[in-house]
Subunit: 337 residues, 2 copies
C-alpha cells in the first residue's frame, strides 16, 4: 500500500447521514518543514485516485517535493477513501450516503489540522472535481491559504454540466445488470455505454477533427480510442462509486452550506487567496465563460485559460505534455507571486 489512512471516526455528513469509522486515504510527497509553512493540498478528480494526480508532481516542477509538502487526499467515494465499494454494511453499496464537496473538504481539513497540525497552506490546487474542492477550500477556510489554483473546474456545477452528467448516469443505469446498485457482477454494458457518452464530452471537437487520438495519443483508429481508452477507463471502476461521485459533482456549490446560504456571489467574494482560475479553452463541460463569471466575483482572482484543443483534458491527467508545461508554468508564476 503506497498511501496512508486517516480515521475520521464518526463523520457526520452535510445531508444527514453519519459515516462511522470513516476513512480518508491520502498520500504525501516531500517533507513538512519545521515551521509547517510549505504545504500544498491537491485533491483528486472524478474517479481518480491519488496516483492519478502524480503527473503534476516532480523535481523542477511547480509542485516540487524537494520544496513542498504535498498532500493528495482521496475523495470520498473514490474507492480508497470510504466508498460504496469498501464501506461495511449497512451503508455499503447503493446505500452509501450522499457526500458533498463540502463534506470532502471538511474531512481534508481535519486530516491537515489534526494529523499534521498544519494551520496554513501555501496553495490548494486541483483538476476538475479537484478544482471544485479547491474552490471549496477557498470559501470554507478563506484565511488559511495564500493561493488557489483550480483548473478545468468550477465553484458550482453549472446546469449544462448537470445535464451532461445526467446522460452519463442514464447510460450507466440503463443496464439491467446495474440492478439499482445491487449487482454481483459489474454492469459492464452500462459502464461501456457511460464511457461512450463521456468520450464526446472529454475532448473537444477540434481534438477529434485533428485526429489527435491517433496522431498524438497513438490509438489505431477512432473505435480503438473508444474501446481501449474510454471503455478501458470506465470498466475497472465500481458503478456505485461512480454514481456517488457523480452526485457529489452534480451537487457541488461552494455556497450551499451554512456559511453562505446559497448566495453564490457572496461565497466567491469571500475567497481571499490569490487565485488563478484556469479553464481549458475548449472544455465542453467547464466552458471558460463560467470561469470568467467566477473571476468577476472574486476579489483576488485572474482568468488564466489553458489555450488548448484538448478539451477537458487540457488540464489532466498529464495526457498532453504541451498543456502540462503551460499549466506548470502558470502554477510556478502563481507560487512566485
Amino acid at each position: 500500500m503506497d498511501y496512508e489512512i486517516f480515521d475520521l471516526g464518526d463523520f457526520a455528513l452535510q445531508r444527514g447521514a453519519t459515516l462511522r469509522d470513516c476513512k480518508l486515504a491520502y498520500k504525501t510527497f516531500g517533507t513538512l518543514s519545521p515551521a509547517k509553512d510549505n504545504v500544498i493540498v491537491y485533491p483528486t478528480w472524478y474517479s481518480g485516485q491519488h496516483y492519478d494526480n502524480e503527473w503534476l508532481v516532480g523535481e523542477g516542477m511547480a509542485l516540487d517535493p524537494s520544496k513542498y509538502f504535498i498532500i493528495i487526499p482521496n475523495m470520498l467515494g473514490n474507492g480508497l477513501s470510504s466508498s460504496p465499494s469498501n464501506y461495511p454494511e449497512p451503508y455499503n453499496g447503493p446505500r452509501f450516503p450522499q457526500v458533498t464537496a463540502y463534506d470532502n473538504v471538511k474531512a481534508q481539513h481535519r486530516l491537515i489540522t489534526e494529523k499534521f497540525g498544519i494551520e496554513h497552506i501555501v496553495m490548494v490546487v486541483g483538476w476538475s472535481m479537484g478544482a471544485l474542492q479547491t474552490f471549496h477550500w477557498g470559501a470554507m477556510y478563506p484565511d488559511m491559504m495564500d493561493k488557489l489554483a483550480p483548473f478545468c473546474g468550477s465553484a458550482k456545477c453549472s446546469r449544462h454540466n448537470f445535464v451532461f452528467l445526467e446522460g452519463v448516469k442514464a447510460a450507466l443505469t440503463a443496464d439491467a445488470a446495474w440492478n439499482n446498485g445491487w449487482y454481483d457482477e459489474k454492469p459492464a454494458k452500462g459502464l461501456r455505454a457511460a464511457a461512450r457518452v463521456y468520450a464526446g464530452w472529454g475532448f473537444s471537437q477540434a481534438f477529434y477533427r485533428q485526429k489527435l487520438d491517433i496522431e498524438t495519443l497513438g490509438f489505431s483508429s477512432l473505435e480503438d480510442f473508444l474501446v481501449a481508452f474510454w471503455e478501458g477507463f470506465f470498466l475497472p471502476k465500481d458503478a456505485n462509486n461512480l454514481l456517488t461521485m457523480l452526485w457529489t459533482w452534480q451537487n457541488g456549490d461552494i455556497s450551499d452550506n451554512e456559511l453562505y446560504g446559497g448566495d453564490f456571489e457572496k461565497a466567491l467574494g469571500a475567497i481571499k487567496a490569490k487565485t488563478f482560475v484556469m479553464p481549458g479553452r475548449t472544455d465542453l463541460y467547464f466552458p471558460p465563460e463560467d470561469s470568467e463569471n467566477e473571476v468577476a466575483n472574486m476579489p483576488n482572482a485572474e482568468f488564466r485559460p489553458i489555450e488548448s484543443v484538448w478539451g477537458h483534458f487540457a488540464g489532466g491527467p498529464g495526457t498532453n505534455p504541451v498543456d502540462v508545461k503551460a499549466l506548470d508554468d502558470m502554477l510556478k508564476e502563481l507560487l512566485a507571486a
Copy 2:
C-alpha cells in the same frame, strides 16, 4: 393521411441490399407552376417527419407556398417512408438495411423527376440531417438547382459528431429490453437514457446558463425539461428507426460514392449552386468551424452563421422565434440573390 406515397419499386441501396416495393412518403405545399420552375425541396431531419418541417413554410415566409411548390420528402427510416417499423419481412425491424444519405437523395430525385417531371430546382434546404441531404443534392446533381441552404448540418459527419452519436446509441442499446432490436415492447429505459444523453448536446452551455428551458420555453424546472421535453421527444419513436437513421447520419459523406471516390474536397468543389452554409454559432455537434471548412472548399458558398445561444436548435424545429426570423431572412436573401 395528410401525405402522399411514391412507390420506388425495387430500390437498390448503395451498400448492397434492395428494398422491394420501397415507399417514399412526402408532402407538398403550393402549386407546381406550368413551367415547373418554382420547386423547393426540403428534406427531413433525424427522427423528424414532414410535419416537423412545416414551421418554416408559410405565407410571407421565404418558403411561401403561394410562390413555390415545396416538396418535403421523408427520410427512409423515419417511420413514414420505408422504415424498420413499417417494412414487411424479411427486411423488417433490426434487419432493415443500411441506408445512406446518398440513397435518400437518389430516392428523392426519382420522386421529383418521375412523379412530377421536374428538371430544375430553385432551392434545396434542410436542417441537421436535412442539411446533410441538401449537401448531397448539390454534389450528386450539381446542375439541377440554383440554391442550397443547409443549416445546422454538414456535408460529412465529423469524427466528434460520430462519437456524440455513439453515446446516444450506447445509451439506447444498453437497455436489455432493446434485445438487439427484437423487442415486443419498446425499450423505454433506453429511449429515456438516449434522451438524457441528447439533452446536453442539443442546446448550448449558454442556453442552460441562461435558463432558457424555463424562462423562454416555459418548463417548470430543469428536470421537467429533461422529462417532458427530452424523454417525451424520444419515447414515441421506434428504436430501430432511430438506429437506422443514426447509422445514416454517422455514415453521411457527400464524397462516399462512385462520383467522388471519397475525395471530400473534390465533392465540395463540384457543388455549383449558390449556397448559404448556416451553422448555429453555438451548435455543439455541428460547430461553425466545420462549416467554414466546407465553405472554403466550395466555389459559390458563403458562411452565414445563425448568431444564437440555442445550440443545434438555432436551426429548428421552429423552437425559437428569434432564430426562425434570422434564418427566414437569410433564406429570403438567398432566394432573391
